[in-house]
């Protein structure tokens, strides 16, 4: 298992969040999540410009094995989606924290950090799942 990037926040739904300088938040799924899903073959992305509620369905990632919903960890406006995933969904497998990002959201409110985990906390969380 690769080391978790230290500059990200994590959710129990195995998503990561990165705060960008313009105040938007980039979101993807973690290495643990992509590994559990297996080879990704299709990603259904939301439309740019729509609003999503916190915990609302935001995208669908489909692997050879199964389809999984990706829920918005924060509410806000979708300001960008990773169009490259349409032709190359496996970017999520190979670079989950970089080129495998999924959406960028401009939060409608602040980020509730209490509901998010630090890298160390997320590591403990997934270690406990593996036991």
């Amino acid at each position: 298992m690769t080391e978790l990037p230290g500059d990200l926040l994590y959710t129990e739904e195995h998503e990561w969040l990165r705060r960008e300088e313009d105040g938007s938040v980039t979101i993807g799924i973690t290495d643990h999540a992509q590994s559990a899903l297996g080879d990704l073959v299709y990603v259904e992305l939301p439309e740019v410009g729509i609003d999503v509620d916190q915990a609302g369905e935001m995208a669908v990632v489909e692997s050879v094995k199964a389809a999984s919903d990706v829920y918005a960890p924060i509410g806000g406006n979708i300001v960008a989606v990773n169009e490259a995933l349409a032709d190359d969904p496996e970017k999520i497998n190979t670079e989950p924290y970089d080129d495998g990002w999924i959406v960028r959201i401009q939060p409608s409110d602040g980020i509730d950090e209490g509901s998010l985990m630090s890298p160390d906390a997320y590591q403990e969380f997934i270690d406990a799942l593996d036991d």
Partner: protein, 368 residues
């Protein structure tokens, strides 16, 4: 924890993701299911199929028994070593299991049945066998691997006893032979050439290591499923079960109607279905839109009715989603599938989708 095959430690050593399959701890993949899939289509892969149940049947009346037990006719097995794919039906014509049967001698046959159906299969076979004085012997001490792919036989040949190598390479499709303690058959579940090999459990790990050293890629159940789906080979419990007859699962070709006087279990029920005009069709689907077809999704045929996907997934060889489905009778070439609340367009295509490394369907154009 489930049952473990003699190769379980090998799977762990190779970094397999282990899943439960019919009570067995089996490898799903060893890293990339797609790479394993492509290895079998392009070169060679090996699957641990030791969880499957091997049953040897023997006795002077064994052939007569099998002609009663099975929907296909073992009389087609005119030479020792020949294999036959068949369903084993209940009295209503529903499929108890699908299996491969090998004729070992005039009085000895070998059945290979599914892992998840082991208990009910053995119970059923023993129940029917009594009247024929057939001895039913489960060979739980044997391991089994499937080496599949265009180069599988050549690469695996170096791992078998040199005394039998030429004879093994000369085996015709759907034929097997005993090679010392090992039984080798030119059969499989991938749509590629290859062997399925039964051997004493104690020899399995060495054999596995030899295959990997020869360049054969270890493959898990994930790739096995996408390969068999592309080859349009049915999966028991998914494409058919005890409520579904072979005629409703695209397996009419496995039912031997002749000779008419052969009274196999389920025959009278099948005869009624056979002459019904309202039979459902079992077809292949190719998804025209983006997305992935999955098991149990609803098929909608405009103006005709509804059906269901029995096996759906992504085809790594084609790069699109494909499925097997039971759909209403009628002549039509297009349908829609309810994929997570959206109706996506599918085209009915002639199966198999892929065979011997080659795509068999017209991806862009004409229907069957």
């Amino acid at each position: 924890m489930g049952s473990k095959t003699p190769l379980f430690e090998k799977h762990n050593d190779a970094g397999a993701r282990i899943v439960d399959f019919g009570g067995w701890d089996m490898p799903l993949h060893y890293g990339s299911q797609k790479e394993e899939h492509h290895a079998v289509r392009r070169n060679a892969g090996v699957f641990d199929v030791s969880h499957m149940t091997i049953v040897d049947l023997s006795g002077p009346r064994v052939r007569e028994f099998l002609q009663y037990l099975l929907a296909n006719d073992v009389a087609k097995l005119k030479q020792h070593g020949k294999a036959l794919y068949t369903c084993m039906l209940n009295a209503d014509g529903g499929v108890i299991d699908d299996l491969i049967i090998y004729c070992m001698s005039d009085t000895d046959y070998r059945l290979i049945v599914n892992a998840a159906t082991r208990d009910k299969d053995l119970e059923w076979i023993r129940e029917q066998a009594g009247a024929f004085n057939v001895v039913v012997d489960e060979r739980a001490e044997l391991a089994m691997v499937a080496v599949q792919g265009p180069n599988a036989r050549q690469l695996a040949a170096t791992s078998i006893d040199a005394n039998y190598r030429d004879a093994a390479l000369a085996l015709q499709p759907f034929s097997g032979m005993q090679a010392g303690k090992v039984f080798i058959a030119r059969t499989g579940y991938t749509g590629e050439d290859g062997w399925e090999i039964c051997m004493p459990a104690a020899d399995a790990a060495t054999f596995w290591d030899d295959l990997l050293a020869a360049g054969v890629m270890p493959c898990g159940l994930g790739a096995r499923d996408t390969l068999r789906l592309e080859a349009a080979m049915n999966l028991y419990g998914t494409d058919m079960d005890e409520m579904i007859s072979p005629l409703e699962a695209g397996l009419s070709w496995t039912v031997a109607w002749e000779p008419a006087e052969r009274d196999f279990i389920g025959r009278s029920a099948l005869e009624v279905q056979r002459h019904s005009t309202d039979k459902q069709r079992f077809v292949g689907l190719l998804l025209q839109d983006k997305g992935v077809l999955r098991n149990h999704q609803r098929v909608v045929v405009d103006g005709i009715g509804e059906g269901e996907i029995t096996s759906g997934g992504f085809s790594p060889t084609i790069g699109k989603s494909i499925a097997l489905a039971r759909v209403p009778a009628g002549n039509y070439e297009n349908a829609q599938v309810d994929v997570r609340g959206k109706l996506l367009n599918v085209r009915i295509v002639k199966t198999p989708f892929v065979r011997n490394g080659q795509i068999q369907i017209d991806i862009d154009g004409d229907t069957q």
